[in-house]
Symmetry: C2
Subunit: 342 residues, 2 copies
């Protein structure tokens, strides 16, 4: 019998939804912090297959999730393209910004897979180590979100450089996006070849774009990536996450070809049932802050999500990544509640 | 003949929409920076009626907007309630956080109006100085958004303290919200008595809440405020801004009683026409980054917004506040384009 996550992503409805959590391997776990302390920089951790494997497996051992997600970062793609990327402790990622057509020249999508060898080695090791019933998810950032970091040189509130570029000079911005589409296809394809069974595309900053720009820079590149991957790996399901897209989730689902969508915390679930779950599997959407709080509010929210999405294919997850302040006991409570094991 | 903004907020469709911009008085204007340098702290600027009046009037003189919005800040309400609030240059607002039922005790809604006398004095001066055809808008933060600053002690990404409180102890969180409802009604009512002709409620962080919490902590307090204000000042239109609420804009419009909604940048306008503009006036929603970029992308976006929303009551505005990087010439271009004066 196929693994639970794969069955749901193929459109099957299960009485007990499979569960995994975005950023399930991370700082909220003491065993993660221990491994993290051994690695040098954050990227060193991503690029040491033994350590990346270990931290990916930790939450599987502790909580018995239905899926493991490769421990990595969306910024390994710009790093693989040849952009300088580093992580300042406590400050988030920094990149030497790419802001002009000339800055694009050195970025080489055909360099990505060679550069990211250790990532695929980790994928292989993780796959070999996982219990039979646990699915391995590979991932990448979607082009718009990765582009924001590349152009801004790090995190941003307003995305003024990235948006300035796409508004003022869409033709060269398109070159950047095309390089990202190509790099992302190569990177995800290599993950599949190394053992990833499902792929997720994170478009964390999708909500920053007005409708027309959303169509051009979120839907179009995602459709291109999904199309190419389906050509190469038709059996591998793809989950899209256009975080904060609101109503445009509908068009994203209708037009990109994804097999499933990850729902952010704010999406009303009645609408999700009517407009999204009819067409694809849905994944989500517990508030990470409810997981920090635990107790009755968390239990009520879990029950509501399970019940509302019970009529179709549903993967239980958060609406955004786990935050470091999360008590691990609350995660255990969550898994028990989703599985009705009290 | 009534002022253009008032006509549209009463439901009238005009061939040329009235225009004003969120944060139209601010750092992007050299004349603002000059006045700002004379005041001590940011709150000093808000509390010196002569200076607050001057910066409110600057963009009216320069661009001839159809409305002026009082220069002030949503955090004058916590300051009026007795919480310590200060602005660290370059770091955003800081507050001594309010996190427990005990912390709520000293907060006194009946102190707000006495404490904020200089704000209402500014309102009176501005109203007296404005040209006859220009409408004066007063404003406040909506309770949820103001509560995030009060509980977090400043800006936040995750709102873990505020959400932790409402998830773990909703009854005492409700006390905080009730104090905010009362303080907000008093503050807005005093602005009307001093000369404000329209009110706007800013719920900047509305998108952070899941649906059930959105209903309880965005829609309910807004409905309470609108209800009380309509009792006292039935002729004063109220614009709501539940930024990022997506689909929940519909319920917000149906249930709060606002006369108009301000649309964030990401809302698809076809849906707005069908679902919101049938019921209330709509305001928005040019991307502030398009205003920074200027040129063809901005002109196309303006034309699209004007055309799509032309069939009903529409106030031209941004989808979020002007950013400091905005060239003032682009604002002049925008006003000319909206009015078809080239």
């Amino acid at each position: 019998m196929a693994k639970k996550l794969l069955r749901v992503l193929a459109g099957e409805r299960l009485d007990t939804p499979p569960i995994w959590l975005m950023r399930q391997a991370g700082r909220y776990l003491p065993e993660y912090r221990e491994v993290r302390a051994k690695a040098g920089t954050f990227l060193d951790l991503c690029y040491q297959p033994e350590l990346a494997t270990e931290v990916t497996l930790q939450p599987i051992r502790r909580f018995g999730f239905d899926a493991a997600i490769l421990f990595s970062d969306i910024l390994v793609v710009p790093d693989g393209l040849g952009q300088q990327v580093w992580f300042q402790e406590g400050e988030g990622p920094k990149l030497t910004p790419v802001r002009t057509a000339a800055d694009l020249k050195p970025l080489a999508p055909d360099r990505v897979v060679a550069h990211l060898g250790p990532v695929y080695e980790a994928v292989g090791r993780i796959r070999a180590a996982l219990p039979d019933e646990v699915t391995l998810i590979g991932f990448a950032g979607a082009p718009w979100t990765v582009a924001t970091y590349m152009v801004e040189g790090g995190s941003s509130r307003d995305f003024l450089h990235a948006k300035g570029w796409l508004y003022r000079e869409p033709s060269s911005f398109r070159e950047l996006m095309q390089k990202l589409v190509e790099a992302t296809v190569r990177h995800l394809s290599a993950q599949v070849e190394a053992g990833a069974e499902v792929l997720q595309l994170f478009d964390t900053w999708a909500s920053a774009l007005p409708e027309a720009a959303f169509r051009e820079w979120v839907i179009e590149p995602t459709r291109a990536i999904v199309g190419e991957l389906k050509g190469k790996h038709p059996a591998v399901p793809i989950i899209g996450f256009p975080r904060g897209a609101g109503l445009l989730y509908r068009d994203y689902v209708a037009e990109t070809g994804v097999d499933a969508v990850s729902l952010d915390t704010s999406l009303p679930l009645g609408w999700v049932v009517d407009e999204l779950q009819q067409h694809v599997a849905v994944q989500g959407n517990l508030d990470p802050a409810a997981l920090v709080a635990g107790g009755k509010a968390m239990q009520d929210a879990i029950a509501n999500i399970k019940q509302t999405l019970a009529g179709g294919p549903h993967v239980f997850n958060l609406g955004h990544g786990i935050v470091p302040q999360t008590p691990p006991e609350h995660v255990a409570d969550l898994v028990a509640a989703v599985r009705d094991v009290r």
